[in-house]
Each structure stands twice: as C-alpha cells, then as structure tokens.
Subunit: 255 residues, 2 copies
C-alpha cells in the first residue's frame, strides 16, 4: 500500500504545486514507483504537463464514473513516475467538484485504487481549509505544509496545524505531520526562520531543508516542467530536493 | 447604494488581499466613504489590523446571527475607512462557513446592509473558483482580477474570466469585469504583459496601471499595514495605487 503524502497550506501561492511536482520527480528518480495526484480543481499539474495535447482524463472523470483507475494513470518520461491529473473540469463546475469531494466516499475509493499501483502518492491540494483539503487530510498518511518565511504566514500555518490535529483526533489517527517546509526563502538568516523553529521545534517541526527563492523554480513553472526535467545544469537546486526527500524518509521512519 | 468591487482570482498568492487593502485606503483618503470587507475565511485583513487586541467581530458573527451590521463595522484611523473583518472563525469550521456562504441569502443580506453605510465596498475573497467566490461574484457590481505576469497564470486567469461571464449570464447581469491587474511585475518589458494585452484588449482588458514587485508591499504585509498607513516616504508606490484608483473610476464610468 502506498504512502500518501499531501502538500497542504491555507495560504495561497506558497509552493504546494511546485514542491509536489519536484518531490514526485525526485522520488521517482530514486526508482520508487510514484504517483503525482492533483486534487486541486485548479488543475495546474495536468495543465502544465499535458499542454500540447487534449487534456488528460483524470480525477474529474473518475468522480463522474467516466474513467477507471487505469485510464487516469499517465506514464511520464521518468519510468517510475505516473501522473493523475485533475482531468476535464469546467471552471464553472468547481462547486460541484467540491461537493463530490466533500462526501469523501469516491475520494477514498480513488486513493485506495491508486494505493495498489505505487509506493508513493504525492498529493497536491487547493489552498485554504475548505472541504477539498479536509477530505484529503482525512484520507492521507502524511502531510507537509510549505510556507514562506514571513511574519504573517506564521498565523496561517498555525491555523492549518490546528486543523491537522483536529483531523487526527476526529477522523484519521494515522495522519502524521511530517513538517513545515520553508519555501522561497531569500535570506538564510531570515529572523522568521528562527521564530518558526522555536514555535514548532521537534518532530513535526520545521524541516532542516529549506527551499530558496530561485528563478529556476519559477522558470520551470513557466515552461510547465519540474526542475528535474530541466536536465543536468540544475544539479544544485535538484540536490536540494534530494536532500528534502531523504529528510522525508527519515521523518517517515521515525513517525 | 455602494459600489461593490471584488478582488478575485483562481490562483493563490497573487495579491488580492494586498491590493484590496491598499485600494480601500486610497479611496478613503480621497474622502469617499469606504468599507473593506473580508470574505476570505483565511481572515488576513482582520488578523493584520486587529493584531494586538481580541479579534474583531465580523462576517462570521453576522452569519451566525450573533452581531448586527453596526457591531461588525470597525472605524480605522482614516475617517472614511471602516473595516468588516472575517470575525471569529475557528480553522476547523471553514467548511461550515463555506456552506453558509453558498446558500447566498445571508451574504446578500450582509451586502445590502453594508451598501447603505458607504459609497464603496472593497471585497477580498479566497483564491479558487469555489462557492465563496461564486457567491460573492453573484452579489457584486464590479470585479478586478489580479495576476502575476507569467505564462502559467494566463490559463488560470482565462478560467476565472469564463466563470465571470457565466455568472453574468446566469445570475448577475450587473456584474462588470473592470479589468485584469498585473501585480508583482518585475520587468516593465515582460513579454507576458504583451501576451496579456493581446488576449484581453479593450474594455475589461488589462489595466494600464501595473503594480510592480516591491519590497515595501511585502514589508507592509509583514507589519500588517497597507502602504497608505506607512506614511510619507512611500509616495511613489502609494501614487501607483492612486493611479489605479483613477483608472478604476474611469472604467466604472464607462461600464
Ligand atoms: N522556491 C521558489 N523560488 C521561486 N519561485 C517559486 C518557488 N516556489 C514556487 N515558486 C513560484 O511561486 C508561484 C507559486 O507557486 P505554486 O503555484 O507552486 O504555489 P501553490 O501553493 O501551489 O499556489 P496555489 O495556492 O495557487 O495552489 C509560482 O509562480 C511558482 O513558480
Ligand atoms: N506588488 C507586490 N510586491 C511585493 N510583494 C507583494 C506584492 N503584492 C503582494 N505581495 C506579497 O505577496 C504575498 C501574497 O500576497 P497576498 O496575500 O495579498 O495574495 P492573495 O491573493 O491575497 O493570497 P491568498 O490566495 O492566500 O488570498 C504576500 O506576502 C504579499 O505581501
Ligand atoms: Mg497549486
Ligand atoms: Mg488573500
């Protein structure tokens, strides 16, 4: 059964999608069979990668009973990496999608089906603490909360930590917070990092690996590719994600 | 009756809250009675401004029938500016909040009540195209869509334009798209700006005023204040928002 790792945040634009994409690439390149699953109705993962062809079938078709698990799994150029995209969802139907996800039955069924197909499922979610995020937390094993190292982000992050704790107590005792991941860090000596480390020290605290603000991540998003796909000359940033992957491994082991 | 101007986007972290805050300050400083209304369950507006005191009562209390319109209006240091914050909403109750907003009755009632109290209501929303955003668009007069000038943002923006058009046709013919607002622009010659101008030219197209990426905006968020509150030495950035306000005026007049 796969390990289900969710990227979640209340704040928008903190890097959930960017991190999910790059993490999935790194796990797959280590030879682990990995699925990158996009549960965000925004559908950034599939849009980025399926750009030049008709949109892939994905979660939306599965929820509408128009596709099977096998029909929504898309092989990538990396042998161990498959993608399950959002699929065809009209922007006007997002409310419908939210309601279906909220009832959770189909979501659990989807995740159980995917869990037999890989060792890791990396799950991207919409920002906010609404029903899609709640439903996902209720069915996941592990959660990572990316955040920007800035004062106002502290409050937003403590709110999602509260929700994670609540989900653990009420619905899903198996859910483990792997940690808070500083992203888009501009100064390694940022005072906010100290604050974060103090607030959330210890297991489930802040990751030692921090992801710097770097043009290459934004650039990769521009052309819709994770940095892993961009090839050799990005080994520094790519190594940062490898470092993150090992840290995730040890936290999973300790959990 | 007030003009209701919504800041909306599918993409997270594009600057809805930052722009709503600064725009409200600029309108108020021109002497127009303005309400800044925070409909995002994230509650960034109230959290930023009410930081050192118990959280203000706001939308949440109104929806639960625990406060009247007058009890949720908070006077700021700027005479013409009052704030209606999210109010006390536990992070675990965001799903509930979403459901109440979806039924729209109470939201319409809230907006009708506030519309008698001011000339402008600047409305902040959560990111995404879910029920809170849809309900808000159904009850608003004008909408501004901030976006970052980058390739992948184009798709996200055209999705929300589709939803706006749908709401106009199906629920709210009075809704006018004032325009798309480039925010966090780093290069005034960014090729993405040209693409945006081409895609969405003409009324309801891209604003001529663009908001540059500037430390001061992030810094203002850090201490939880709009740049208008930061005083004299920010006249360059503040003037950018005055320019935006005049452009909004002419677009409203032309609408
Ligand atoms: N470390 C980084 N350095 C530079 N840019 C980054 C970094 N991480 C993310 N970005 C950029 O920041 C923007 C937001 O990132 P992303 O879309 O991954 O966030 P998100 O949390 O998924 O947003 P949403 O709330 O819309 O789902 C994107 O333009 C992305 O390319
Ligand atoms: N023009 C700008 N220059 C520099 N930083 C900016 C600018 N506009 C916004 N920011 C910063 O970018 C971050 C995101 O902005 P903001 O919170 O206003 O976006 P949002 O769309 O409201 O996000 P959410 O989707 O979470 O509601 C904040 O840290 C803010 O301070
Ligand atoms: Mg995302
Ligand atoms: Mg906001």
């Amino acid at each position: 059964m796969a390990k289900r790792i969710v990227l979640a945040s209340q704040k928008g634009g903190v890097g959930k999608t960017t991190i999910a994409l790059n993490l999935a690439v790194v796990f797959a390149e280590k030879g682990r069979s990995t699925i990158l699953l996009d549960l965000d109705p925004q559908g950034a993962v599939g849009l980025a990668l399926a750009r030049d062809e008709a949109e892939w079938m994905g979660v939306a078709e599965y929820l509408m009973n128009k596709a099977t698990i096998d029909e929504i799994l898309h092989q990538t150029k990396i042998p161990s990496l498959t993608i399950v995209a959002r699929g065809g969802l009209d922007a006007r139907d997002v409310c419908e999608y939210e309601k279906v996800m909220q009832s959770q039955g189909l979501l659990k069924q989807l995740l159980d089906g995917l869990s037999r197909k890989a060792d890791y499922i990396i799950i991207d979610t919409p920002s906010g603490l609404g029903m899609v995020t709640r439903a996902t937390l209720a069915t996941a094993n592990y959660v990572i909360v990316p955040m920007q190292a800035e004062h106002l982000a502290l409050r937003s992050t403590s709110q999602i930590l509260r929700v994670i704790e609540h989900v653990r107590e009420q619905e899903n005792p198996d859910l483990e917070l792997l940690g808070i991941l500083p992203n888009m860090v501009e100064l390694s000596k940022d005072p906010a990092l100290n604050v974060m480390n103090t607030l959330w020290s210890g297991f489930g605290g802040v990751f030692d690996t921090i992801i710097p603000r770097a043009e290459v991540f934004a650039a990769a998003s521009q052309i819709g590719l994770p940095i892993g796909f961009l090839g050799g000359k990005l080994s520094f940033e790519a190594r940062r994600f490898e470092q993150l992957a090992s840290e995730i491994d040890s936290r999973i082991e300790a959990a």
